[in-house]
Each structure stands twice: as structure tokens, then as C-alpha cells.
């Protein structure tokens, strides 16, 4: 087998290098733009959530990063945590977690929007919310709460 070596003028290599640099710069720029957009969405959603919380829930959220709601049908208390999944804890009378629930609106939404939708659903139509929710093992996570 025989290979032919093709010699290219030096400017071709420089042009390829330049284009590669341009591509890398565009990718890095787009990555940071996307991150910035995501951060802005998170902040906007959290601001909306705070407007809809009761004073007691807002105080809880500001201190602990979670808040409690009361289910409209059962009267049970639920803790809504600021985590993307399995973030709704059903609590017993001592405040201990008995069940963890996972549900939220369809689509890709910032966590603040998800938490607000969960609050509205549990406070106004608890049974419908739990009917679609996935039930998790309350002992699966190792989070601690104040």
C-alpha cells in the first residue's frame, strides 16, 4: 500500500486553526448564555413563588429553603423542598416524614414554578395531585431538616 503525502500551503493550517478557535469561542459563549438564561428563569420563578406564599410559609422558606402546606382534603401537612425531584414530604403530627411524593407540571420549568404549582395543587385539589404523584420511600434520602 502506498500513501501520497499532500503538502498544503501554511495558510490553510492557520485558517483551520482560526476556524476551530472561532467554533470553540461560539460554543463557550452559547454555554454561558444558556446558563445565564436558566439563572434568570430560576430567579423569576422564585420571586413569583414568594409572592404567593403566606407570611408563615415565606418565613419558613427564607430560613430553611422549604415550606409547609396543608392538604385541602385530608388536612395532612406536606413539606415542599427546593429540590428537583421527590421533594414533597408528607408529615405526621410530630413533623416526621412518612411518605415522599413526586409530581409537578409537565415540561421543563424552573424549580420555583414547580414548588408553586405543588403548593396550589395540594391546597386546592390534594386528591387529584396525589392521584398522579409517584410515591417514594421516605427513608431513601438522607436530608436533615432544622
Amino acid at each position: 500500500m502506498r500513501f501520497d503525502v499532500i503538502y498544503l500551503p501554511p495558510w490553510v493550517g492557520l485558517l483551520a486553526l482560526f476556524l476551530l478557535c472561532l467554533l470553540v469561542c461560539a460554543l463557550v459563549l452559547e454555554h454561558y448564555r444558556e446558563r445565564s438564561r436558566g439563572r434568570a428563569a430560576e430567579l423569576k420563578a422564585l420571586a413569583l413563588l414568594k409572592q404567593w406564599l403566606s407570611p408563615a410559609q415565606l418565613a419558613q422558606y427564607n430560613i430553611h429553603g422549604h415550606f409547609e402546606v396543608t392538604g385541602c382534603h385530608s388536612g395532612k401537612r406536606y413539606r415542599i423542598r427546593q429540590t428537583p425531584q421527590m421533594n414533597v414530604d408528607e408529615l405526621d403530627e410530630r413533623g416526621a416524614r412518612t411518605v415522599t411524593w413526586c409530581f409537578g407540571p409537565e415540561g421543563k420549568l424552573p424549580i420555583g414554578d414547580v414548588m408553586l404549582a405543588q403548593k396550589i395543587a395540594l391546597e386546592n385539589d390534594e386528591q387529584a395531585a396525589l392521584a398522579v404523584a409517584n410515591r417514594g420511600n421516605p427513608h431513601q434520602t438522607t436530608l436533615r431538616f432544622a
Binding site: M86, E106, L109, I120, N124, A129
Partner: protein, 73 residues
């Protein structure tokens, strides 16, 4: 001004309208019907921390939030 807030990937999209403006109210009603028809839930803020789900358009509601159909995560 009344406000319709539709949750989306940007946080939300807001539509403000004057409840005294018949054309604006008609537009808001059409938006309400389109969203709820597509499975969105509509809730209005009633007081400090309290809300109510609505199935019919309420032109007097100051703030209505819409979120897409709930599903298990």
C-alpha cells in the same frame, strides 16, 4: 391592571389587561380558554398565601397563574 401569568421555561410569561377594556377582556378570555383547553390549571390569588382553582374566566381576578397538567415525577 389584571395579570395572567403563564409558567414556562423562562420562569413565566405575563399578559396584563385592563378589566374595563372590553377588547382586552375578550383577548384575556380567549387566552384563558386556550390554556385551560390545552390542559393548563388556572389559579387565582385570593389573599395572603391563599389561592383558588378556577374553571371559568374571572375578569375581576387581579392575578391568575397557569401551569401545565400535573404528572408524576
Amino acid at each position: 391592571m389584571a395579570k395572567q401569568i403563564v409558567m414556562d421555561a423562562t420562569g413565566d410569561t405575563r399578559h396584563e389587561f385592563d378589566p374595563a377594556d372590553a377588547a382586552a377582556v375578550a383577548e384575556a378570555l380567549a387566552r384563558f380558554k386556550a390554556l385551560t383547553g390545552a390542559g393548563f390549571t388556572a389559579a387565582v390569588r385570593r389573599g395572603a398565601g391563599t389561592s383558588e382553582l378556577i374553571r371559568d374566566f374571572d375578569p375581576a381576578a387581579e392575578e391568575t397563574v397557569f401551569f401545565s397538567r400535573l404528572r408524576g415525577g
